[in-house]
Symmetry: C2
């Protein structure tokens, strides 16, 4: 028994994205198959609550600053962040590449912490960035230890290709996930973003469950056969150290 108008409000909020950060009443009404007067009222209410704001020039709406404060409270309960921060900071200092910590949110992975490389050419992340599970290293780490039935249940939701390299064939993906589980490392080369590749390693909680993914995001030109062994070793070690901090008895 859920409350329909609250569901509608949440659906409206989720309509905004990195790609479509600003939307109009008429657009949202079409997306949700709801009358525009209804959308207008939902947005008016959400604006009063600081969760959206209206661009006075365009009349269109965006997500509002009030969500940031709510997310701050939500982030505060994610204990892996505290454990990971010093370790990630050191990792980035050592390898001079960007490191990102992700957890699962529905059918996506979301960034809950990140430290950026200081090199001029580097990957820039942000807290709250959502990326697909299937074609990112962090996403594959979060999927690889899921029960097979759960992995299969997600296959109908495979997204479009993001790049020429994106793997979207279910069987090929299953194979990749099995390899991730075996090697404990995920490697994604330009499947999600042209020019960038990523490595991922599992972070486990005290029960041994993979609850987060520690990743390195790197301009592809800098991921070579020469430095790959070092990078993946450093990443593994950092992920193991974070897991140990969380109470995982991992060869500690």
């Amino acid at each position: 028994m859920t409350i329909q108008s609250i569901q509608r409000a949440a659906a409206v909020l989720r309509s905004f994205s990195e790609i479509r950060p600003e939307l109009g009443v008429t657009e949202l009404a079409a997306i949700h198959d709801v009358h525009k007067s209804t959308i207008s009222r939902i947005l008016t209410t959400l604006e009063a609550e600081g969760m959206v704001s209206q661009n006075s020039e365009t009349g269109k709406y965006r997500l509002g600053i009030g969500l940031v404060g709510l997310a701050g409270v939500a982030l505060g309960r994610i204990s892996v962040r505290g454990a990971a921060q010093p370790i990630m900071s050191q990792l980035v200092h050592d390898i001079q590449e960007t490191s990102i910590l992700m957890v699962r949110d529905g059918r996506e992975a979301v960034t809950v912490e990140w430290f950026g490389s200081t090199q001029a050419l580097r990957y820039v992340g942000w807290i709250g960035r959502r990326v697909p599970l299937f074609c990112t290293a962090g996403g594959r780490i979060l999927l690889a230890w899921e029960p097979f039935e759960k992995q299969v249940a997600l296959m109908p939701f495979l997204p479009q290709k993001y790049t020429e390299s994106t793997v979207i064939d279910p069987q090929a993906l299953q194979k990749l996930l099995a390899e991730v589980k075996e090697t404990q490392i995920a490697v994604v080369r330009e499947e999600f973003e042209e020019g960038f590749s990523s490595l991922g390693a599992p972070v486990r909680d005290r029960h041994g469950r993979v609850t987060a993914a520690l990743t390195i995001a790197i301009p592809s030109v800098r991921l070579t056969a020469e430095n790959f062994p070092t990078l993946q070793a450093e990443l593994r070690l950092a992920a193991q150290n974070i897991s140990a901090e969380l109470g995982y008895g991992f060869g500690g």
Copy 2:
């Protein structure tokens, strides 16, 4: 014309805080003077939307990871962040103290970016942290250039004292805000958190409006008469540089 049930949902979300990250149905019902069955249904709906999650052991609720992704989109539209990041990183590198960028959210200031000092004793911030306007350096920066009537209109909402040093007398505060406006620097010594002080400087947009506050948060033992001139000068310069990036013609 706002939608009451959506307002209620938002009010429930805002009930969670740093201090009270986990709340039960009965507590929330009392806080909001709403029947607990109503609260239970609101929470069930919000949980289905990923905006809260229930602790299976305690039966209580917390804010959920879905809010982080929404906040990520909201953060993406705050252009001051991109301008500020390299400058803040350099500032922290130079002074070895934590720097925080805040914008206003209603009657509070919220952190939209931060870079932490690597010293062992340091201030740790986080994206989405909300702090009172009145007794933090960033908050005072955000208030100081507000029209007098707007400042006065906020006085009834003065919070309780956080520390022995918190200034909550309206007239004393008005005087402090006038000084901030004159000196272009806010200094708060342990008014919000024991052991920590902060300095704030205004960040202006291309229209000249103060739309963000750049701050340094520092263990009070490290803020001395000796280093204060250097710290405030570095902070001013960094804030001016960010403002210039935003198109403010500030003695460029």
